[in-house]
Amino acid sequence: MTEKRKGPARLALLVALASAIFPSEGNADASASKNVLRVCGDPNNMPFSNEKLEGIENKIAALIAKDLGWELEYLWWPHQRGLVKRVLNTERCDVLVGIPKGYDLVRWTKPYYRTGYVIAYRKDRVAEIRSMDDPILKTLKVGVQVNTPPHLALGQRGIVGDNVVAYQLMFDSNAHPEDYPGKEVEDLMAGRIDVALVWGPIAGYFQKKKGASSLVLVPIEEPNNAFEISMGVRKANTELKTRLEQALDRRRDDIRAILEDFGVPLLPLTASAPGGAATTPDGHDGKRKGGS
């Protein structure tokens, strides 16, 4: 490192020295010894999480910390590429509150809810859309995040023309918070697109919390469009995983209340759910069509 190098790296070095001189609580089981639930939180990614602790995952983290009788601490870091390797696995924090089961960079708990991508549209602008096979999708302006399952489903139907508006998955919640995934639903509400193919909780949030009462949400019944959601911990951290699973089991109803409060379109959990806590499609304000 040359003398020209300033800023973060130099500060980091000071911090590193400080922690070498004053070794503090910090090893693998810091959270256990101090009884702190250390959450890796996204600072700016509603409806899931923000620094004001307004998101679904903020509420669930608070609930679980309370259940365990632990303090709650956040490390704020955008939930994007490098999150696990640079933050969770470096033991800067211990828990990812909402990750898909099967996300194999981490050890996941038994899933505590299940949801999926939806077709979202405004009932004051579009009569009805039943499924991805509805021919009307070929004529409307359809928003979708690139490389997500509904993007694939559009491609498989040859819906790839001028009417598809692509939204980037990539966003930096520090540098460009305005590019968050909810932008697609904002555009839908503003009439810039006619249909948003979007992750259900994001659409549900607008419908329930942001006054978008004209929104209709139709689950996309395609392979790989629904996911079970778990908490994630470091692969070696089996003890914490067990503690979290026990707490999630105990707080099943409270969690469900939080999810419903945020308008998350809930789908039945599969048999591996904790305590068989299958939730059912519950007829949120949106229509639920195209299957049982």
Partner: protein, 651 residues
């Protein structure tokens, strides 16, 4: 520093860790395709967490005026002379590929086939970083200019001093958010020199000119935004007072471009895109006139659906060459930007294309797309080497390009006409190239499709050859090609996750090609498209190659052997084991003491070496886009350790 043993400390430690703990790439194909986003250090103040201030990095330059363009055009006539002359001085090595033709051939003749067995390390030096080391150092006058992987240290080494002490060293201020978005190891492919300046490009997409004598910044400019996934690993090239600079980040839907900066002041002279409307592609009026079937007007939009060209990829992270007589520069573009081919029907021009442009106006006179509608990540950025070859008794100004797609192309570099297009490794995705249409004759069974298992596609996504540059010897008229021998299964689905939304991607399982060796150094006749000899390597041959007038060919292996072989026969005459696997490009020079030296970087990394340079767990074979599985099985974890070193050899 191992990520798993990092002590907990406030967030700034994580910032520091950014240099050591690069993100695991999370997609199916390399330097291409995918979903992820830019993590950023968290500046929020929380108890015990300190806020970092952003480093001072360059800003986007203001638009250039017509007067400034005219001024540069006048200056360019004079400015080009220096490098056109210096490239022929074999005591020095003043540009990335030795000369504008990109041959990496030197007439130095002190080290010969007879005495090479006495070659010994003259001196060596740590570069101070542990990511992969690609490219080669420069030698200008009596100074060697060496570089490192991120954070891109530059060292000016005094060759007149017996201890090879430093005249200066420099490390650019960089936005560390660039590291996790760089696809395949935070490598850097080297420096350029012109008019008393060292010109460099940083991983976070800055363009910087340093005073070659003092290392002081003369100017800096910005060529891309790393928070949007734009990074740069390529070296660029100085031509006639313009610094020609590319961009990486195709996997984030970056729309590729090539940009010229005024060497004097960093002003942006022109930028030509790889996709989009003709005006932004900067085509000449008679573009592809000799080969209209390659495509002419409006192909940058019409071969896409809707406005998908805006995320069109076609990035430009490879090598550049230049023909002063034709006044054309050559480079090629990478894969199309959207990961799923179903979503972008059409040829997706001008991804995967070899381009010829005038370096002063930026205008393209021809472009040839090698792999239309890519479904394999056969990223087309490999170097184009300019040589004059004899066909039917006539000298033809030719361009030779060994592509990731497995075909070795010889084109007429005046207009792009195909002279030869033959597979140089085992290829089964296409049966050949139809020379009349220029299009590959595809085996439809080998075209990948999301959600469908496609087995045994050869070559794999790393290609028949990756970026590691070839050499050409005018004595043998052969190319010396470091190649890969690998195939892939494109299979299954894997759960991925970003910013609260999960989704799925395909797994790519990589495996050895026929014979089991993962690499081979080939001697290749560019007029017939036939291999003359080959040296099979246990690992992919991922280093560059150097050829000398004494019929010596130098190259290195990923397990750290630096070798000299006979240019005619491929007989290994000498080898030396260095500190880490070699993915750099060897070079040679004559020092002020009058002796010939050969230099090479050690420092394993790059896509195949990423598992070692980034300490990736071997438990996840699909990690690093499938590199972990094959690197682990090949024994690379046991064969070498990471670390950047400069080695200099002499008799």
């Amino acid at each position: 520093m191992k990520c798993s043993t990092m002590p907990p400390a406030p967030v700034l430690i994580a910032l520091l860790a950014a240099t050591a703990c690069e993100a695991r790439p999370t997609t199916t194909t390399a330097e291409s395709t995918t979903q992820a986003a830019t993590p950023a250090p968290a500046p929020q103040a929380s108890p015990g967490i300190t806020t970092a201030t952003a480093p001072t990095t360059a800003a986007e330059p203001p638009p250039v005026t017509a007067a400034e363009l005219a001024d540069h055009a006048a200056y360019a006539k004079e400015a080009g002379a220096e490098l056109k002359k210096l490239q022929n001085d074999d005591a020095q090595w003043v540009m990335p590929a030795k000369n504008y033709s990109g041959t990496r051939y030197s007439t130095l003749n002190e080290i010969t086939t007879a005495n090479v067995q006495n070659l010994k390390v003259a001196w060596s030096m740590s570069t101070g970083t542990t990511k992969g080391h690609e490219g080669a150092p420069l030698v200008v006058g009596s100074t060697m200019y060496a570089h490192s992987s991120f954070p891109n240290h530059v060292y000016a080494i005094d060759l007149t001093k017996p201890d090879h002490s430093l005249k200066w060293q420099y490390t650019p201020e960089q936005d560390e958010r660039a590291v996790p978005v760089a696809c395949c190891d935070a490598v850097h492919r080297g420096l350029n020199y012109a008019e008393g300046k060292i010109l460099m490009i940083t991983l976070d997409a800055q363009v910087i000119a340093l005073d070659a004598n003092t290392g002081k910044e003369v100017w800096k400019s910005r060529n891309g935004d790393p928070t949007k996934g734009e990074t740069i690993t390529g070296a660029g090239l100085v031509v006639n007072g313009s610094f020609i600079v590319g961009i990486s980040g195709g996997e984030f839907g970056v729309r590729g471009h090539v940009t010229a900066y005024d060497v004097r002041n960093g002003k942006r002279l022109w930028r030509a895109y790889s996709t989009g409307p003709d005006a932004e592609l900067m085509l000449t009026d008679n573009f592809n006139a000799a080969n209209p079937h390659y495509g002419q007007k409006e192909q940058g939009t019409k071969t896409w659906t809707g406005d998908a060209w805006k995320q069109g990829g076609g990035t430009t992270w490879g090598w550049y060459s230049y023909d002063p007589a034709l006044d054309l520069m050559y480079y090629s573009t990478g894969n199309p930007g959207t990961w799923n081919p179903d979503q972008r029907p059409g040829d997706n021009k001008w991804s995967m294309t070899i381009w010829a442009r005038n370096p002063e106006t930026g205008k393209a006179s021809w472009g040839y797309q090698m792999t239309p509608h890519d479904a394999w990540d056969y990223d087309g950025i490999n170097e184009s080497v300019l040589v004059d070859l004899t066909f039917d008794g006539k000298k033809v100004p030719s361009l030779v390009h060994f592509d990731r797609n497995g075909f070795g192309y010889t084109l007429d570099r005046r207009d792009g006409t195909i002279l030869v297009a033959e597979p140089f490794v085992h290829v089964n995705w296409a049966k050949g190239i139809d020379k009349k249409t220029g299009r590959p004759i595809e085996d439809i069974e080998k075209r990948t499709k999301q959600g469908v298992v496609t087995k045994d596609i050869c070559p794999n996504a790393m290609g028949g050859k990756d970026q590691q540059p070839v050499a050409f010897s005018p004595r043998t008229n052969l190319f010396y090609v470091p190649s890969n021998n690998m195939c892939m299964d494109y299979e299954g689905v894997e759960v991925k996750y970003t910013a609260g939304a999960p989704f799925v991607g395909a797994n790519v399982a990589m495996k050895p090609g026929p014979g089991g060796n993962l690499g081979e150094l080939l001697a290749w006749d560019p007029t017939t498209g036939k291999k003359k000899w080959g040296i099979k390597e246990k690992y992919p041959a991922w280093s560059g190659v150097l050829a000398t007038a004494t019929d010596l060919i130098f190259y290195g292996t990923m397990d750290g052997w630096f070798k000299a072989v006979h240019a005619e026969t491929g007989k290994v005459l000498w080898q030396h084991k260095v500190a880490s696997g070699i993915i750099g490009a060897p070079m040679t020079f004559k020092a002020p003491d009058g002796k010939q030296y050969v230099a090479v970087y050690a420092g394993v990394g790059g896509w195949f070496g990423l598992p070692v340079s980034n300490d990736l767990s071997r438990k996840d074979p699909y990690a690093a886009l499938g590199a972990v599985g094959i690197a682990d099985k090949s024994g690379l974890y046991e064969a070498t350790t990471k670390g950047g070193m400069l080695y200099v050899f002499a008799i």
